[in-house]
């Protein structure tokens, strides 16, 4: 059982996960940030590997990806850095990025490298369900690396059921169809959506991402799901002076 299952099976309080881009703000900050997040009480982390054309991302993460690339970050270098990961961090870690980078690295090689580094799961938003199921699923399962799928308020029930079947850690909910970095809208239609999902009694726990940026949005998310994922707000924070040493300060703005 990997660290993600352990976490979802044992912890009762709302979970907080934080995303940041590998190689940003500095090429060597990847593990320092991971360690800082664990110390600040974050439950699990998502490390983005940068891509030149991040279609699902808003300006903040576009910018961190571009900077990371300019700093020289590559998937190869990231796995090199992650050799030290499990000496420094014990909470679950996911990698998040776009499929072309994975394809060029080689999907089997990528799964193997994740397993060796102690990475528990991956989020590749543009890897379609059909291709995952037909071509890559076994490779992920063989290495005990969870593939996490996204759903939005427009995802049909039939498709959600299928995603639930293919998932083995958690499902990533978007509060509305949007790129990253927009603020969570908590209106009646999204409440109806959360209620609909709760009624479906899915096998996998859910987490809300995209747009979580303060207490309010975090608490709202935790009302309906197991917790929330913060991305752009943290990446923006990383741009402030001495940010890495002030991570607890940031975490306190989200969860008391």
């Amino acid at each position: 059982m990997n660290r993600l299952h352990q976490l979802f099976n044992t912890k009762e309080e709302p979970l907080l996960s934080i995303y940041y881009t590998a190689g940003y703000p500095d090429i060597n900050s990847t593990l320092d940030i991971a360690e800082g997040l664990e110390k600040a009480g974050v439950d699990f982390i998502e490390i983005g590997f940068p891509y030149s054309d991040p279609l699902a991302d808003g300006p903040v993460i576009q910018n961190s990806s571009l900077k990371a690339l300019n700093n020289g970050m590559t998937l190869k270098l990231l796995f090199e850095q992650l050799k030290e990961l499990r000496n420094r961090v014990s909470i679950p870690v996911l990698l998040m990025g776009y499929f072309n980078t994975v394809l060029q690295y080689g999907v089997p090689e990528f799964c193997k490298a994740c397993a060796e580094a102690g990475v528990d799961g991956v989020i590749v938003p543009d890897l379609p369900m059909y291709e995952y199921e037909e071509l890559y699923k076994d490779c992920f399962l063989d290495h005990d690396v969870s593939n996490v799928f996204l759903i939005t308020p427009l995802t049909s029930e039939e498709r959600i059921r299928k995603i639930d079947k293919l998932s083995n850690s958690f499902i990533y909910l978007l509060s509305s169809s949007s790129t990253t970095g927009k603020n969570l809208d908590v209106n009646t239609s999204s409440e109806a959506y959360y209620a609909r999902l709760q009624k479906m009694e899915l096998n996998n726990p859910t987490m809300i991402g995209f747009g979580i940026h303060d207490h309010n949005s975090f608490n709202k998310a935790a009302e309906f799901t197991r917790g929330a994922i913060v991305g752009s707000a943290f990446v923006k924070f990383l741009d402030t002076p001495d940010a890495i040493n002030r991570i607890p300060e940031f975490v306190a703005t989200i969860r008391k």
Binding site: D53, L55, Q62, Y98, L103, T179
Partner: protein, 599 residues
């Protein structure tokens, strides 16, 4: 087949052939079916005329009138008759009624004059009896020519067809057992049959140059999109064929192409250019379309589609501005809101097109991310669509993007080669040129120019990419020369990228060719070698533009000038026929021409 609605339902099943009986003693005789209904069948489905002992000249008239691509001859036509018909360029399928006593040696004279045989149950009434024959007699058939199997094929005996282990079995001809009444097909029953036959249909599918039902062209294509785009793309995928083959849609589309765009675009014999190169060079004048390029064929199609999908807001990306202008144009025509994303750098270098879009009421949004050119404009348009999933339709400007876009845009652009075929036939007596040339950015004018020739393997297809300052100069957009397989903008194709999979910045003097990928169908045509991919530098294209201006009085777009420039590198034997797609006119490029030639 003779009922229009039934024909259109059948088209959606995407069979390889559809047959029409022109034999007046048959209960399935089509009589005077509407010409347009037959012509509107996409040409990837071969329209087949079925005749019994008809006069060759009458058959040739029917071929012309209905744009038939194949004929089935069910009488006692001689091999000479078959040959005469084959020479007009259609496929000839010669049918024989087979029984235990059938002498296969009588096929010998036909081996050189027909494409396929068809083995049917022997009856007095030339087939259509609903009875099968004993297929074991096929063991006596020793020639290598592939054949169609016909006669009494129904759901209950298809299992036995699957068991026939013969590479020469090329097609099965389903008829009377799948009818709800004579000449009317039972579509649900046919679906079951197609599913049943799937194991043997696979093989021909992999040879096809068109998209399969999963959205792939061989290894390329698919829909690599985040979940936020899935509902929109899936909706489109489910609806696009149904919508575009609705009679009302076709009627409006054809009308607009004619009265608004000015189609058919002329096929012009460029005599002075022909004399220079020693070939018969025809120019397909897409530059004469309204708005000055082929792009409008696609935007007219997509705006009609968007209306039927109930969308109120249109977004588009543009590089040179031609697609942006074509989109702004159709939005003005239909009164829909229009937002065009354009790289900040392209906005500077294509100012007149920016002004055109604005004048027609479009909002032009600069793409300031990444490299600030076409690739980034496309990213921005996709992000807009993610954030506005319900009221917005995204009109992609080339044969790129997630399935079904490449196929949909190809179908709208296929009008280019459809017209070329009949125009060439009128002018030369044959619808087949020796060569077809087109430039490739994303590849929409090239696919449009190739589309109806894809299965005519004797027609050589040449796709011209932009080499920029030279393929090895580091400043180039020659995707097939410099790229590898990868995923960009929702499809798997060939892509210019770093070892790490970061998309690299292409360069070409022509903004319309300045794209790091090509459409997935092109990647497939490249990999299967069905088309040849070559490249032309900035300088060569500018020289070709000047040459066309001075020999024919036509100023081409620099994109199109890339295709023209390749003529210089070809060696023609005799008087070969060449069609070059003149995808756009050069008005937008005048500043560049002025600079290079000190005009």
């Amino acid at each position: 087949m003779k009922y229009p609605d039934n024909i259109r339902d059948l088209v959606l099943l995407n069979p390889d052939y559809i047959g029409f009986i022109f034999y007046d003693k048959s209960k399935r005789f089509v009589a005077e079916i509407d010409e347009q209904t037959i012509k509107d069948i996409p040409s990837c489905i071969k329209k087949t005329g079925v005749f019994v002992d008809e006069n060759a000249s009458v058959i040739l008239d029917y071929i012309k009138k209905y744009h038939l691509q194949a004929v089935q001859l069910h009488g006692s036509e001689t091999s000479d008759t078959c040959l005469k018909i084959a020479e007009s360029g259609v496929e000839v399928i010669k049918a024989f009624g087979v029984d235990e006593a059938f002498d296969f040696n009588q096929l010998l004279p036909y081996l050189d004059s027909v494409n396929y045989f068809l083995f049917d149950t022997k009856t007095k009434a030339h087939g259509g009896s609903g009875l099968t024959f004993n297929w074991q007699v096929l063991e006596k058939y020793t020639f290598s020519k592939p054949y169609f199997l016909s006669g009494g094929l129904g759901l209950e005996n298809l299992d036995k067809v699957l068991a026939i282990n013969d590479d020469r079995l090329y097609a099965v001809d389903l008829n009377s057992c799948f009818e709800s009444e004579p000449a009317k097909k039972d579509i649900e029953k046919l679906k079951l049959a197609i599913n049943k036959l799937r194991p043997i249909l696979k093989e021909t599918e992999s040879m096809s140059y068109n998209v399969n039902e999963k959205g792939y062209y061989g290894d390329f294509g698919g829909a690599y999109i985040p979940e936020m785009l899935y509902p929109n793309v899936e909706h489109l995928r489910k609806e696009y064929l149904k919508i575009i083959y609705e009679p009302k849609f076709q009627e409006e589309f054809n009308q607009l192409l004619k009265d608004y765009v000015g189609r058919p675009s002329p096929l012009f014999l460029a005599e002075r250019l022909s004399a220079k190169y020693g070939a018969k060079i025809y120019l397909k004048r897409e530059d004469l379309n309204h708005t000055g390029a082929h792009k409008i064929n696609n935007t007219i199609g997509q705006i009609l589609l968007a209306e039927r999908l109930g969308k109120k807001r249109i977004i588009a990306e543009t590089g040179a501005g031609q697609h942006g202008v074509a989109t702004a144009t159709v939005c003005a025509l239909k009164g829909l809101e229009c937002v065009v994303y354009m790289g900040e750098i392209d906005i500077e270098r294509q100012a007149p097109n920016v002004a055109r879009m604005k004048m027609m009421g479009a909002t032009v949004v600069p793409a300031i991310s990444g490299s600030k050119t076409l690739k980034d404009a496309t990213n921005e348009a996709m992000r807009d669509w993610i954030n506005n999933p319900e009221d917005t339709h995204y009109i992609i400007g080339s044969v790129v993007g997630p399935h079904p876009y490449p196929d949909m845009v190809a179908r709208f652009q296929s009008i280019i080669s459809e017209e070329t075929k009949w125009q060439l036939k009128e002018k030369t007596g044959s619808e087949y040129p020796d060569y077809v040339l087109a430039c490739v950015g994303g590849g929409s004018n090239a696919i449009g120019m190739f589309y109806n020739f894809l299965d005519d393997e004797h027609v050589k297809l040449i796709a011209v990419e932009a080499a920029g300052l030279g393929v090895d100069s580091g400043e180039s957009a020659a995707t097939t020369a410099l790229g590898r397989e990868g995923v960009l903008h929702g499809s798997r194709s060939i892509l210019m990228q770093t070892e790490d999979g970061q998309v690299t910045e292409p360069y070409s003097i022509s903004a319309g060719l300045d794209y790091p990928g090509i459409g997935p169908q092109h990647a497939h045509l490249f990999k299967t070698k069905r088309a040849q991919y070559v490249s032309i530098t900035d300088q060569e294209s500018l020289d070709a533009g000047l040459l066309l201006a001075q020999t024919e009085g036509i100023i081409p777009a620099i994109e199109s000038a890339h295709a023209l420039a390749y003529l210089e590198k070809m060696k023609f034997k005799g008087n070969e026929t060449v069609v070059v797609c003149l995808s756009g006119r050069g008005d937008k490029d005048l500043a560049t021409y002025m600079k290079y030639f000190n005009l």
